[in-house]
Assembly symmetry: C2
Homo-oligomer: 623 residues x 2
């Protein structure tokens, strides 16, 4: 085993060409084995083994700086930079994250997870080096469909003329995005591959960049030669390498889309160990297909992630021309939806909460300022979404819930999701976003399902009680039911339960009505509290005597977490909430009587003035 | 006069070639005259007169659809589409906005104001047309530096291979952005101009687009010929036209940057009627220059808008290599700042609040997830910023104030602005944004200026009183002073005045302390209430008996407004606020006594339960 001798990139220098090839095989075997146990990015990493060895052979990190885009293809890099045990020893599998992580190693420069950022980030490293009269190469890796993202294109354009110093952009061209590639750029890359880099339609030289093509992108010697030829360049240069996604694992070579990311699998057969599970995203995709069949003007728009609607190649074929995949180009997806709407079309965009962050301006300007009749299905906006720090789905309510003119709906069941999609596509009031739940699939059962959401911000009382009202949004409606049960059980309170349905505003009339016989209102939302839904309820009642307890998540970054643990830590369980409510009720009472009647003193009164905040769980008043 | 005979584009068809040239002169004269009185986008419109005539001669709107990018160069378009009086008759000058506006005309398809959107929006129109089996040309106009924006590049890439039907992209190439152009793309455009379109380094063909060059971009006949040759094309085609920015007005031809947008001026001399005024942005620029001189590693980053630091060409020369203008590429600017910070540099980004919207994801992922030590000066985040609907500066607190890891500071004086910039560049805690005020410049005078902001969210009590506390942020601190005065004058209340300094969180300790002898807390912020600073204060006190009145702006789009009027409408004046405080105090009292003593009844009690919300100004509880 050569891999066991590699404690850092310098150990590569001792290996012969043949030994480096053997090392690549060992790495590949380790990758496949770990991935079969834990799942992860299979195809992208298998294709980039040789390039990573060559990069670390030629460039001397951490002085030379290698920036990975998305960094989902950095597994080999981790193995070569002192972290091999996390791939060889099953008991240490969890020692590394699936992305580059400066806390793990000096060789990891950024925490990245979104696409299309490496060129811009690297341009900053290069500029800082120049300003400080430093030295060293700056290398940006990009590929796997990331080039079509606006940030990458802005970066290429900038580097192409404004950075007149060393920078190397390695374009890892495996002919694929997550699914197939989209966009003229990828057509040009194909022509460059066919012509051994000679095609005149070269997007890199057209942006002012020097260019070099390496056809054998899985040949370590060829790569070493190419990288050595550009090392210490005095100007930016693109090295376009042609790699094979999934190389070395037959199933991954055969079905590149399926194996871009894969859950744990049987190593010998490639069969998934986890059967396909229906989720709310499957349901949203089904509903979209049903609407498409009924109405040829309904058009789905996705940005490189068909999984957002659980759209397999078969389901995409079913949608046909009624589905537009713009590739990794979220801004294009959202703005195009606005254009389609103005042209009389019926666009339904599917996007993950985390990637929606790319489109704040397009949502604000292209869509909402124009009141375009587009529907946005936002997936994985939940603590049960992705659990790495760069893909958190906890910010979308705070982000788009405050954009004027946008209605943000939060279904709590399959039937509500369907009804909201149906209504949104048919209505003519304005843009609508729907937060596709991420928790366990639930059904409305006996509960009535609203069909018409045109009265904005009209909440639904699903159980009428008094004293305490629980406003439980989307994914957390079920938690709301549990809280109501616990209040009954523990305190004998027959609480009111409300399904707000809308999370971008509050139902003034309903909230005002609660003041008659309620003293405490609890809000529950599956997102950060700061800027979110609960704070709107809190602000509504702020000038009144109503006590409001808002539950959601603290404004913080969390990484590789257990959702249950994070919920507990944020006080999101029926027992803690019930305890908080009990205190709030006592405090409200104490405050009223204590202030008015000088004879009452002690616990209740002092509690009302000093004990309040200290006694609530930290999230209650978190900003 | 031919212009007077033009009621719509069809009237152009009756004109001869010579008459069209005469018409262009008349339009130009009207433009210059109106612009001299009212100010506006001078150079961009003067350069695009002939192209607009040719477009409307060849394409038959509104069936053929013309989408303007930014739409700041749409004045001639407005004149030719039934709105000439708004340019000929001074009493009607205000009848049209400075941007395209569907409410004015069917020929205006979108409300636009941000750059780089036309291609994406038009691609949606084209796709909707195809889905509906419709007909008609879709034309996107782009230029003036807008091509370098990520959304435009994503759009070009998409259209280049995915839209296999009619679409025409007119690239208005005047060799300029607002200031000079930046990026490899513009270098390629220059080579295409020099080679009459023959240069092989062609970014459009490299993205799969058909291409055509028109050198005489101010020759109506040449343009008509070119547009006719691509009319009804069955695939996307770029028509690259070479125009002269400012054509026909000597001062604007000479100094293209100065005349991109210009305030009212003396028509004969070109001298501005409004002398240059020092603003907080000038101060931020001065401070940045001072810091640059002391420390060669301090680097300013701007994205095509040097005015954000009031950076004239002279001041830019002074900054030298310590200033990077990335061109219109906001995502690149923010991500590059993160890279520079990680490389040990000291980046200071200047960006307008409205354009910061382009970078939510870069702020979140590239900067904050990485804790990069970058400083962001956010300008025009204020009701006193731009007053058109597409450039509102009221959303930035709600947008970035809820991003974990970002400290958002709001100076209230020149001295605080300087101190915050100074501190931010020196500190090593994390990313810092500073909201450069937009109101009247004020000085700290006797007030102490804090130098160290490392204790996050520590507010400053500037006047210690009781009963009522006024937390007045940034630009609105002065209003807070007026409220405190009015409370004293009218109600005899010696209120506490607080300068929060931080607007991305609350001072738990200080707010808790206020509970001892305060019953009402007022918050004032120069931004929307929804998701903003005041709601954080409201949420903090939500579980307590404190009454909180939050003041700011409703979540709505406003256009061509009078800031004073909008403030009044949102209850933002000392008299209204004092009246609200009086009610809240009475209500708090009534609630306490009314509930506790059955003998009290009538006004106070019923007011506490029902009258509360109705009696407050509408914004107080607005969500």
């Amino acid at each position: 085993m050569y891999l066991e001798t590699i404690d850092g990139p310098h150990d590569l220098l001792a290996l012969t060409s043949e030994q480096r090839v053997a090392l690549a095989s060992e790495i590949r075997r380790a990758l496949i084995h770990k991935l079969s146990k834990r799942g992860g990015h299979v195809g992208s990493n298998l294709g980039f083994v040789e390039a990573t060895i060559a990069l670390h052979y030629v460039f001397q990190g951490p002085d030379d700086k290698i920036v990975f885009d998305v960094s989902h293809q950095s597994y080999t890099h981790k193995m070569l930079t002192g972290r091999k045990d996390a791939f060889l020893d099953e008991s240490k599998y969890n020692d590394v994250s699936g992305f580059s992580e400066p806390n793990e190693s000096d060789y990891d420069l950024f925490r990245t997870g979104h696409t299309s950022t490496s060129i811009s980030l690297a341009s900053g490293l290069a500029k800082a080096r120049d300003m400080r009269h430093g030295s060293g190469n700056v290398v940006a890796i990009i590929g796997d469909g990331s080039l079509s993202g606006g940030e990458a294109l802005e970066g290429l354009d900038f580097v192409g003329s404004e950075l007149n110093s060393n920078m190397i952009i390695v374009v890892n061209d495996n002919g694929m995005s997550i699914a197939e590639n989209h966009g003229g750029l990828y057509r040009s890359l194909a022509k460059l591959r066919e012509s051994q880099g000679m095609s005149p339609e070269n997007p890199f030289t057209a942006l002012g960049l020097d260019y070099r093509y390496v056809d054998k992108g899985n040949d370590i010697d060829a790569l070493i030669e190419a990288f050595e030829s550009v090392k210490d360049t005095d100007h930016p240069v693109v090295v376009h390498i042609h790699t094979l996604k999934g190389l070395g694992y037959a199933p991954a070579e055969r079905d590149k889309e399926e194996w871009h990311w894969h859950s744990a699998f049987d190593e010998s057969t490639g069969k998934s160990l986890k059967p396909h599970q229906r989720t709310y995203q499957t349901e949203a995709g089904d509903q979209l297909l049903r609407m498409m069949q009924r109405d040829p003007e309904v058009t789905g728009i996705i940005a490189g992630t068909p999984t957002v609607f659980d759209f397999t190649p078969e389901r995409r074929a079913q949608a046909g021309a009624q589905l537009v995949d713009v590739g990794i180009a979220e801004e294009q997806a959202i703005a195009m939806a606005s254009g389609m709407a103005k042209g009389g079309g019926k666009p339904v965009v599917g996007m993950y909460s985390s990637f929606l962050q790319r489109t704040y301006d397009q949502m604000m300007q292209d869509v909402c300022v124009n009141g375009s009749l587009a529907t946005f299905c936002i997936a994985s906006g939940s603590i049960w979404g992705a659990n790495d720090v760069t893909h958190l789905g906890l910010f979308d309510i705070a982000m788009i819930g405050n954009i004027p003119g946008l209605v943000y709906l939060a279904p709590t069941t399959v039937e509500e999701l369907d009804a909201m999609m149906e209504w949104s596509v048919a209505q003519t009031d304005g843009p609508v976003a729907i937060r596709v739940p991420a928790g366990q699939m639930r059904h409305s059962g006996q509960r009535a399902v609203r069909r018409d959401y045109s009265q904005t911000n009209r909440f639904e009382v699903t159980q009428r009680g008094s004293d305490v009202a629980v406003v439980a949004a989307g994914d957390f409606y079920h938690l709301g039911e549990q809280v109501v049960d616990e209040l009954q059980r523990t305190l004998g309170i027959n609480a009111t339960l409300i399904n707000p349905l809308f999370i971008s505003g509050v139902d003034d009339t309903l909230l005002r009505g609660l003041q008659r016989d309620h003293r405490v209102v609890v809000t529950l939302e599956d997102g950060i509290l700061s800027g979110g839904f609960g704070q709107k309820v809190a602000a509504f009642y702020a000038p009144t005597s109503m006590r409001v307890l808002t539950y959601g998540f603290a404004k913080e970054y969390i990484d590789r977490f257990d959702p249950a643990e994070v919920m507990r830590r944020n006080g999101l369980d029926p027992v803690s909430i019930t305890r908080d409510v009990e205190r709030a009720l006592r405090d409200a009472q104490g405050n009223t009587q204590g202030n008015a009647q000088g004879t009452m003193r002690g616990g209740a009164q002092s509690g009302s003035l000093h004990g309040t905040e200290a006694s609530f769980s930290p999230t209650v008043a978190a900003a």
